[in-house]
């Protein structure tokens, strides 16, 4: 109880903690929502490719503008992530290279260029570059109020786009061929959904970093899938899990000395996944184990088949 009061007191009085917690909550909210589609469409790894691909965008934005403004850097990340997405889609559609290979190619090429540019900046720009390499693993402590506003703005755009195209994205994910037969512009919708996904990823880069960001996209959605069979509930749960992980990670890392926020958030969301995988009714491992054991002790009963030969 005392600990809870301490936490609430800290949230109310500590500016840094409040900023970090708020930023992490926004990041969890948006990546939880958009991650649902990545998971349902079997494209979980796209997040990994996009987040790594954003690195050269951050470096280039800094090189071209000399600015350390979050909005400028994130716009660079957005452009690079988007470019990588388009490249992946183009390569998959026009060549024999499969989706996973295209992902691997985009990830390594873009990330390689990003590391190269980062090294160049470190050797030439001097003290001015301070902090750019925090995008690798994220550094939530560097978040200031303006950053949170930027994240909130970008996140609102992503969530609004998702809400407006709700039924179109649902059909695109479930049955794209049928969507095309109805005349929906499937390729455009695909690009739009990918763009929103890039937005969601970019929001988290400063806090969680390019290396771990894909976890924030996949984990909340994968955990949410365990608890529900409805898309709307799954999206809501996934957002809630994302927020919970973000806030918990921020609080825990503030209570323990020298605990980095980004990785702590990822560990929190991993814990949610572990609990969901084990305990969720019907889909959970424990539930299935118990069901299997129940059915195993039951003696075999002959079921009379009907006219179709089906029991």
């Amino acid at each position: 109880m005392d600990a809870l009061i301490d936490i609430l007191y800290a949230l109310a009085t500590d500016y840094t903690l409040r900023t970090v917690a708020l930023g992490s909550a926004i990041l969890g909210l948006v990546s939880g929502a958009l991650g649902t589609y990545a998971v349902l469409r079997g494209q979980s790894l796209i997040g990994d490719a996009i987040s790594h691909a954003a690195l050269p965008g951050i470096a280039l934005a800094f090189l071209l503008t000399g600015s350390r403004l979050t909005l400028v850097l994130l716009l660079g990340a957005l452009a690079a992530g988007w470019l990588a997405t388009l490249a992946i889609m183009a390569v998959t559609q026009t060549s024999r290279i499969t989706f996973d290979s295209a992902l691997g190619l985009a990830l390594s090429v873009f990330f390689g260029v990003g590391l190269m540019l980062l090294t160049y900046i470190q050797q030439t720009a001097g003290a001015q570059q301070a902090g750019l390499d925090t995008f690798l693993f994220g550094q939530a402590a560097t978040l200031v109020t303006d950053d949170v506003w930027t994240m909130a703005g970008l996140g609102a755009v992503a969530l609004l786009g998702m809400a407006l195209c709700w039924k179109e994205f649902k059909l695109l994910s479930f049955d794209p061929a049928f969507a095309r037969s109805l005349g929906l512009p499937v390729r455009m919708l695909d690009t739009l959904l990918m763009t929103l996904l890039v937005l969601a990823i970019v929001i988290g880069l400063q806090t969680v970093g390019v290396v771990l960001m894909s976890a924030m996209l996949v984990a909340p959605a994968a955990a949410a899938r365990q608890w529900t069979d409805r898309l709307g509930v799954m999206v809501a749960l996934s957002m809630a899990f994302g927020v919970a992980a973000g806030v918990c990670g921020a609080l825990i890392s503030s209570l323990v000395a020298n605990l980095p926020t980004g990785p702590t958030i990822v560990l929190c969301v991993s814990a949610i996944v572990a609990v969901s995988l084990t305990l969720a009714p019907r889909r959970g491992l424990l539930w299935r184990y118990l069901r299997d054991r129940r059915t195993r002790v039951r003696p075999p009963v002959a079921v009379p088949a009907d006219e179709n030969g089906r029991p």
């Binding site: 349902l40 079997g42 024999r96 407006l164 195209c165 709700w166 039924k167 179109e168 649902k170 059909l171 994910s173 479930f174 049955d175 061929a177 049928f178 969507a179 095309r180 037969s181 109805l182 005349g183 929906l184 899938r225 529900t228 069979d229 409805r230 898309l231 509930v233 799954m234 006219e307 179709n308 089906r310």
Partner: protein, 249 residues
């Protein structure tokens, strides 16, 4: 427009990479016909349906639907894809899948309302699974999945229906329901084109047939077209199993 054939295909060639999947197809479907497309695996049956709906880019040739390009008559065409083409573990229920048939008419940003749900429930009743409206789709049997897809096509209220193997892997009761439904739709003036694998039942179920093996091997009324000779040409001699048991024994 009402006098135009439902489908006119002229000199249609479709290729994936370098190899042709459909070669120089000429084919006409009259309105209110009940047509089967049959042919061995890889004959291009699904591709032909997709070419009619402008879902694949042909190398050459022309397709007209109800005398118009597909784009102009899209809302008059209903599509039943292969049951296996989607992930049935997707988090949604039967009613929701059926409602997807109305997304084209609803337009952007509008969500289905009470009126749409009533239409969807009617379609579910037509295929005999109105009691499954709230069922999670992962809990459906093969026959129930197929009925769900049919209901989704029914709410499109189309003039032409394209169905890809609706009889694949369904139980006998569902098969009966589907064939009755096809006949009802035909009586209502609809045109139906159905990819069908079971050569035993084909002459009983359908009025016309297209025998396809990359090329059009034969097409026309079943009694003239569905001959041993044409089947042998289409399936390459492996037609011993085709004879009805009564003749074989």
């Amino acid at each position: 427009m009402s006098s135009s054939p439902a489908i006119t295909v002229r000199d249609l060639t479709v290729a994936y990479r370098e190899s042709p999947v459909l070669w120089d197809i000429d084919w006409t479907v009259e309105q209110q016909d009940l047509v089967a497309i049959a042919g061995p695996n890889g004959a291009g049956k699904t591709t032909l349906l997709k070419a009619v709906m402008d879902l694949v880019d042909p190398v050459a040739g022309q397709v007209r639907v109800l005398g118009e390009p597909y784009r102009a008559v899209r809302d008059q065409v209903g599509y039943v894809p292969q049951r296996g083409s989607v992930d049935w573990d997707f988090p949604t229920n039967v009613l929701d899948v059926v409602l997807m048939g109305l997304y084209g008419k609803l337009g952007w940003f509008r969500q289905p309302g009470a009126e749409e749900r009533a239409t969807a429930r009617e379609a579910l009743a037509q295929v005999g699974i109105e009691d499954l409206a709230d069922r999670q789709i992962s809990e459906l049997s093969g026959g129930q999945q197929q009925r769900t897809f049919l209901a989704r096509a029914l709410v499109q209220d189309a003039a032409l229906y394209l169905m890809d193997e609706p009889f694949q892997g369904v139980d006998a009761t569902t098969e009966r329901t589907i064939i009755d439904l096809l006949r009802d739709l035909q009586a209502d003036g609809k045109t139906l084109v159905v990819v069908h694998h079971d050569l035993q039942t084909l002459p009983e179920y359908f009025d016309s047939v297209l025998l396809l093996n990359v090329r059009r091997m034969a097409s026309g009324p079943v009694e003239e077209t569905f001959t041993d000779e044409n089947l042998r040409r289409t399936y390459g001699g492996r037609v011993g199993f085709l004879h009805p048991p009564s003749e074989a024994s």
